[in-house]
Amino acid sequence: MTTRDPFQALARAEEPPPLRVLEALRADMRSTRPAPGPSRNRRLGASALWLFACLLLGSFSAFSSQALWLIGGGSAFALVFGAALLAGVVPGSKRRVGLGLRRGLLGALALGLFGLLALSASEFAPWATVFDAAGCRQALGCGMHALLTGVLGVAGLLWIWRGTDPFTPGATGAVFGSIAGLLGAFSVGLSCSSHEGWHLVVAHGSSVVWLGAACGWAGLKWLRP
């Protein structure tokens, strides 16, 4: 018994557009010079190097106060973690995680970081004492440090992957922003001596949320071909 699939018949019935479309394209395509962009792996390598450079730059102030093995080991871990995340979210691979997982990843990164910061805190002092005038200045300094390191990191990522994601550029950009936010939180964590919970969560960790949200929008502008 043979089965008829009308969808296949519809696919076979698809006709090419009229010749004038191709002729117009030929006329438009003045330049046909070679334009091979970097491969996916090269871009991944460049992203990893860039993140590493940003980490070192962001941790510069900690070089005198922290052991080098801590900075080096932490940076290597952050680098591998960031590169593994990137490999799963950027386009061009059949192993790319689906949109649902990428959305889940955004929440997991933010919640994971906040959880880790809360666990590493020695205390949660009353809000008014944490954010008095001096506390606010300190929090602002740490927040700017985390944000600037993150902005530097994500700017590089967006530039390296510009125009490569016509599918879900917003989600990809948001993951880039979250990874860069983690980078910022890590670099400021090395140079800040505070172990107060609210300070850690607000000043160190919030850059993940800001950068994730901002880069969701930036991804739409930069990552779309």
Binding site: F7, E14, L25, R43, P91, G92, F167
Partner: protein
């Protein structure tokens, strides 16, 4: 005895209805052609265009439901592809990439058209109103075509990509910018609606 149309049996989604874009093992794959095109070989572009433009045109035709707009969008999409060829990640599937760019072009044009809602046709006259899909045609293919056109856009798009264009569910999810689960759900719901329409057609035929 003739077999029933397969539309009345919901197919498995993971297996595309249409085979790979290469029919002959000696022919270069679409990805290889894209690689040659990016390397500056214009003839590779022409082959790529001949291979992919019917699928893109069919998809855009279903989105726009107007031939002239679909033709314009094919041209716009390939022009964008030409400009963006350096950002194509070598080896990644070309068809979903092309369809995603085409879909975005459609939405961009659609947004612009809302600002100037009266489009003139080539001869300067106002376009004819679209023919509403009323009764089903005499042929099952025509009936399917009409039934697809009458489906809500998300369902029709999901069915078009997975069953007519031949993308996998994950590729269709990429093109539509949604999750695989959402694509499966849209196809399933679309099938339910199609089945109702085509069963009515079958009754009319007998």
């Amino acid at each position: 005895m003739a077999a029933p149309p397969a539309i009345l049996v919901e197919p498995r989604l993971e297996r595309p209805a249409v085979g790979p874009l290469t029919t002959d093992a000696s022919e270069p794959s679409t990805e290889e052609l894209m690689e040659h095109y990016v390397a500056g070989h214009l003839e590779a572009f022409e082959t790529l265009y001949r291979r992919l433009s019917p699928k893109l045109f069919g998809y855009l035709l279903r989105l726009t439901r107007r031939r002239d707009r679909a033709e314009d969008l094919v041209q716009i999409t390939f022009a964008k592809v030409h400009r963006a060829r350096a950002s194509y990640l070598l080896g990644s599937p070309v068809l979903p990439w092309l369809l995603a760019i085409g879909r975005r072009s459609f939405f961009d044009e659609h947004r612009r058209a809302k600002v100037r809602p009266e489009d003139l046709s080539y001869d300067g006259s106002l376009p004819e109103p679209h023919e509403e899909s009323g009764g089903l045609g005499t042929d099952v293919i025509e009936a399917l075509e009409r039934a697809l056109s009458s489906l809500p856009e998300p369902y029709a798009e999901a069915i078009q990509l997975t069953k007519v264009t031949g993308l996998s569910v994950s590729e269709a999810a990429d093109v539509l910018g949604t999750t695989k689960a959402a694509v499966k759900l849209r196809v399933h719901r679309g099938y339910l609606l199609l089945r109702v329409q085509l069963e009515a057609f079958k009754r009319d035929e007998t």
